[in-house]
Subunit: 169 residues, 2 copies
DNA sequence: TGTAGATTGACAGTATACTTACAATATCGG
DNA sequence: CCGATATTGTAAGTATACTGTCAATCTACA
């Protein structure tokens, strides 16, 4: 015999993992923006700055792989960072299509100065949990994100994305 | 003595809770959209349909509280659902500012038909984890979202948002 | 009663996050 | 060497997700 479909209640929404992930992302962004309000930098812009700092002379496509970000979205992010004079774009000599990304002095200073605020934000997100639970959650989430990597439209390609990035400039 | 600042590496990004939440949200939306592609419905539109189904005659402001959604964003969502003829907006007799929301026949049918796909999507999101770990993650995440509720810009107001919603008309 | 203050939906503006398409350029197979 | 194919950055289009502001309307208090 076929089973009856469950009645549709708000619980179908509130207990769904997808809803909880969306909600937690909202909260995380909200906390980040609040802690970093003095710097007028969004989480995504921050991640881009860190990646460019770590890999000077990276191009937009590789940057998108390194922070698991859609290339199109990244175009706008880069534009904003450039207009705020935090990064520079220089044409590559080897490939006329490519524009290489570098932090400006101002960008490097911003990154250095914002770190404590970012750290505070990350702590605040998990603050309500008991320390042991924080660790458990992070471990499980790290696992899940890693194992689900290919399910996202823009999988993370941390290392191998940079294989061909050698002599930049 | 002051401690040296940690060197800035991509690990500062990859291990940050905020990054993991963003990444997991990307993955969750991607899986949802894939499983529900036959219905052309986004996670947010689905949540709105469920809420309107559960609370017929709800208005936009209360709906935003019930699914923890910014009112401005919701305006566009409602517009799209209306243009797809999944919901109807009727002016309230009691308050000329308010427009009450109802599912259409088509919207109710859509909601009924999409449930199995939504269910599959939710299962897929956690699939890579061991069953016990899925439960642990959901428990911790539920706790964290609840305890952080006020930290978000649009806190969830599930029940009390509907206190004054009685005789809709 | 009558007005100050709150609420409601709408709109404009910013910032992700994705899709598809496109021109310029590179690369590879024959 | 040359044409098919791939890559790069850009752009247009859709959909969240927020910030403000605004006019219309409602409520409550003096």
């Amino acid at each position: 015999m076929p089973s009856k479909p469950a009645p549709i209640t708000m619980d179908a929404v509130y207990t769904a993992p997808g809803y909880l992930f969306r909600r937690m992302q909202q909260i995380a962004v909200s906390i980040f923006v609040e802690e970093c309000s003095a710097f007028d930098l969004t989480p995504v812009q921050y991640a881009a700055l860190v990646a460019i700092h770590t890999h000077p002379g990276i191009d937009a496509t590789r940057l998108s792989a390194v922070i698991a970000f859609d290339r199109s979205t990244l175009g706008n992010v880069i534009e904003r960072l450039e207009s705020k004079a935090l990064i520079e774009r220089k044409p590559s000599r080897e490939d006329k299509r490519v524009k290489l990304l570098y932090l400006t002095k101002s960008g490097a200073a911003m990154l250095r100065d914002i770190m404590p605020s970012v750290e505070r934000a990350q702590v605040r997100m998990l603050q309500p949990l008991k320390p042991a639970d924080r660790k458990t959650l992070l471990t499980l989430l790290t696992q899940l994100v890693d194992l689900n990597n290919e399910a996202s439209r823009v999988p993370l390609r941390a290392e191998d994305a940079l294989e061909h990035l050698g002599k930049a400039g």
